[in-house]
């Protein structure tokens, strides 16, 4: 069930669009912000609220790679693997994460601390390689720098 707050926030988005359904991306983001991901149950609740079928809402949800249809860890690492980062060696960061956290793309640490996902260009090519953790961009990383960054996410 959607919480009263979630419901209120979603309802507030609806009037900004010509059709109710158009608020679906906002709704998915609102629920994900609170719960970390979109479960089948959340999907059902949002679809009902917006007058959509599950097929319609899940088509939107699965299109966006930042809407999570699986549970994620407390912190999500978005590692850029687009051209610039690839050229300057994003793979060393990936390797480091694999060694330190034991996870590769699409995986979550057993303690649910981190989930690692690939992402397309973060628009910070001049500081490649880069990654994002939650809302924070971390630039010019090498394995040692990454190690320090990880420390601050518990």
């Amino acid at each position: 069930m959607l919480s009263a707050d979630e419901r209120r926030e979603i309802e507030a988005e609806i009037p900004r669009y010509p059709q109710r359904q158009a608020a679906c991306i906002d709704a998915l983001k609102i629920v994900q912000r609170r719960r970390g991901w979109i479960s089948d149950e959340s999907l059902r609740d949002i679809a009902e609220l917006l007058g959509m079928t599950l097929d319609e809402l899940d088509a939107v949800a699965t299109f966006y790679n930042l809407i999570y249809r699986h549970p994620v860890g407390r912190h999500v690492i978005l590692l850029c693997n687009s051209v610039s980062c690839w050229i300057v060696g994003y793979s060393r960061l990936r390797e480091h994460l694999r060694r330190r956290l034991g996870i590769d793309f699409g995986e979550t640490t057993p303690d649910r601390r981190f989930t690692l996902l690939p992402i397309v260009c973060l628009g910070a090519c001049d500081h490649a390689p880069v990654l994002m953790i939650d809302q924070d961009l971390h630039r010019d990383l090498d394995p040692a720098g990454l190690e320090r960054v990880l420390e601050s996410y518990r």
Binding site: P18, Q19, L54, D55, T62, F63, Y64, N65
Partner: protein
Amino acid sequence: MATIYVDDRPCRVDPQQNLLHVCLSLGFNLPYFCWHPALGSVGACRQCAVKLFRDAHDRRGKLVMACMTPVADGARISLADPDALAFRAGIIEGMMHNHPHDCPVCDEGGECHLQDMTVMTGHDYRRYSFPKRTFRNQYLGPLVNHEMNRCIQCYRCVRFYREYAGGRDFNVFGIRNLVYFGRYQDGVLENEFAGNLDEVCPTGVFTDATHKRHYTRKWDLQFAPSICIHCGVGCNLSPGERYGLLRRIVNRYHQDLNSYFLCDRGRYGYEFVNSESRLRQARLGIAAGKWQSLAAQPAAAWLGKLLAAGDVIGIGSPRASLEANYALRLAVGPRRFFAGVSDVELRLLRLAADLLRRQPAPTLREMESADAVLVLGEDVTNTAPRMALSLRQAVRQQPLAELEPLKIPVWLDHAAREAAQERRGPFYIATPAATRLDDIAAETWHAAPGELARLGFAVARVLDESAPAVADLPPPVQALAGRIAAALSSARRPLVVSGLACRSAALLEASANIALALRRSRQDHARLAIAVPEANSLGLALLDPRPLSEAAGAEALIVLENDLYRRASASWVDELLAGERRLIALDCLEHPTTRRASLVLPAAAWSEDEGTFVNYEGRAQRYFAACPPPGEIQSSWRWLRDAMREAGREAAAGWQSLDDLLAGLARDLPALAPVLNAAPPADFRMAGARIPRQPHRYSGRTAILANLDVSEPPPPPDPDSPLAYSMEGNPDQPPAALLPFAWAPGWNSYQAWNKFQEEIYGPLRGGNPGVLLLAPEPRPAGDFFRNVPPPLAGRDGEWLLLPLYHIFGSEMLSRYAPAIRQLSPAPYLALSAADAGSLGLHAGENVALWLDGRAITLSLKIRPDLPPGCAGVPAGLEALPALELPAWSRIERGHG
């Protein structure tokens, strides 16, 4: 017309179209995937690339997508340009990366557009040697099979299912190379037109799940030009047979009717032909439940003797051909020929025919272009399904008209849909209960049939002062009538749709009044469509049968392709058959009437038979046999001819072929003589040769019967048509009425229809098949009907019981098809929540329905959409007795 230059060749083309459309119309082989003649262009696949040049001197040009580029007068394009060729080959190569290359085990193989396009572009060697993505397939129900790995992401399926057919339980999921087309979770596809995915999908993702159980490649099937037998729309289709089994149905293009799409009842109902309940042998009843089989000759002689004795009546059938009904009428005499439908239905059919004589019915294509629609009384999706798919397109007309200033062509599908957003043209639905078109309606209103008729009369009255007034109309209904009238009168092509579902003459009359009022105010394009229940309902009515209730008294009774227990109450039928009376039943399936017959004659099923059906427009269309009837089975008219021969009846004794019968019919009933032109006669030849029913690659011809005889038998003769049960014959395009299947060099899939049309999505070469039998009389004025029904007076403790129609379940023949049976509802009684509450009843409970002093126990279903005081039962289910509805009934708590 515009002139464009295709590889320097000047061509005259339609200036309103895109380059792909006109190139295909010109006959060029230009590959494509995402474009579809009925769905338009979206530019998703990039397969249709051509070179476009600035002028005659430009030799470099640029690549454009032909489907996305409007025709411009003087444009110069090249299909053969090396860059274009390389680009198109590259696109295929890219699409094939993830394709499993499993053609040998794919049901699409041999008629696959992806195969054809791959060959056409010359991509013949796979360079990609990495892992492919793989998907889990879904269970989509008993009709459609799913194999997602074959997908090339053309998006046709979602566009058809969601945008064209209005389905909401299907979509595209994911992104990048993990795009998935299916449902949120496994389950039966809900849309009544889901089966079209078989043909819309250019690969083998969606295939016919019923065909899979008795699969045969297209090239090994024997086809016939046929007409659907499962409702009165008259869709054209191609049944395919092998080894005596009917294996599947595919769409057969008809511009005015089904175009590229069928409903699922029509596509999957065919398996009744293969049913265990087929009657295969003539048999004589010797005692209750005891039979003795009979050879054909003595069986005919038995009937001949009765005919000679004279005291025989005949009951015709709305699902038997015009020819079979006529043969029966001749055998028993016109005064002894009775309608095989209820009296009410016959009266309504006559009324429908009269209305067609006033004004022609719209074709389905015309319905698509209606810009304001009123549906009065008919649950079209469940009674005339394909018509509903056309009506769904009508709401796009007004928004499309608004596109003109934006200069967005109609074929530019997503731009057009984006511009229109959710705007829809006026569409009003007034029916007893919710329908599957309600989602596109501006307003819906649910009421008892008489109330609906009153609304209709009121609409006509608003439109025209000289139409009769409706007394005591509640103000909200009057206001609704005003809104409907305003919408219809401001439209350019207003359309009223009604039908026989409510069994109400007042409804038809009200609909006719609206159409008349519109025409009197110079809306010349106003149209009235009346859905009729069965494939030959109108054909039966045109033979002028007497009402069924008057059938009585004779020594013997011939029932043609009909189960009387579906047409009248069991007590009435029992009485009709009581005593020493002989019942002779001709049919293809066992049913309660054949079980009671003294003599049963096994009749050819429609796919083994040739004849004429008359559809809702009064269009006579000929259907042909996909294979000859097996064994002792023969056409009903041949059984009747044999019996007449035995009885020494001159007129019919000489009938050797369907044409002989038709000649007699035309002499006897000159008004029906145009039926001769429904298709060319049996002696029609193309360059001296017959038209082959089999593709030229038909395999195993010499081996098929080798277990019986090593020398190959000659193909079975076909005296009734110019078609041959053979792969031999003239390979050219026959007249459209005789076209058994679509195939053209390089085009093995259904997309080959391109090659048979005068213009893409236009008429088939040689004209659209069928002839209209009910040409309007020269001065089509007509008067307003004046019998406005009084307001419905509710009855204390009684409910008005209404028929609720089901696309799967309400039609008899398709119920014998296992997949359709699986989707048919169990019997139920429906009440609104309030009415159920007033009786203290809950959903799922057993209730007793009292009709004519007898109770039927049914499970209760709550239908919030039912009007107060009304109850509903599923129409036509065999588990329920035949009920003449609407009728008043009592409802009580049931037992157990």
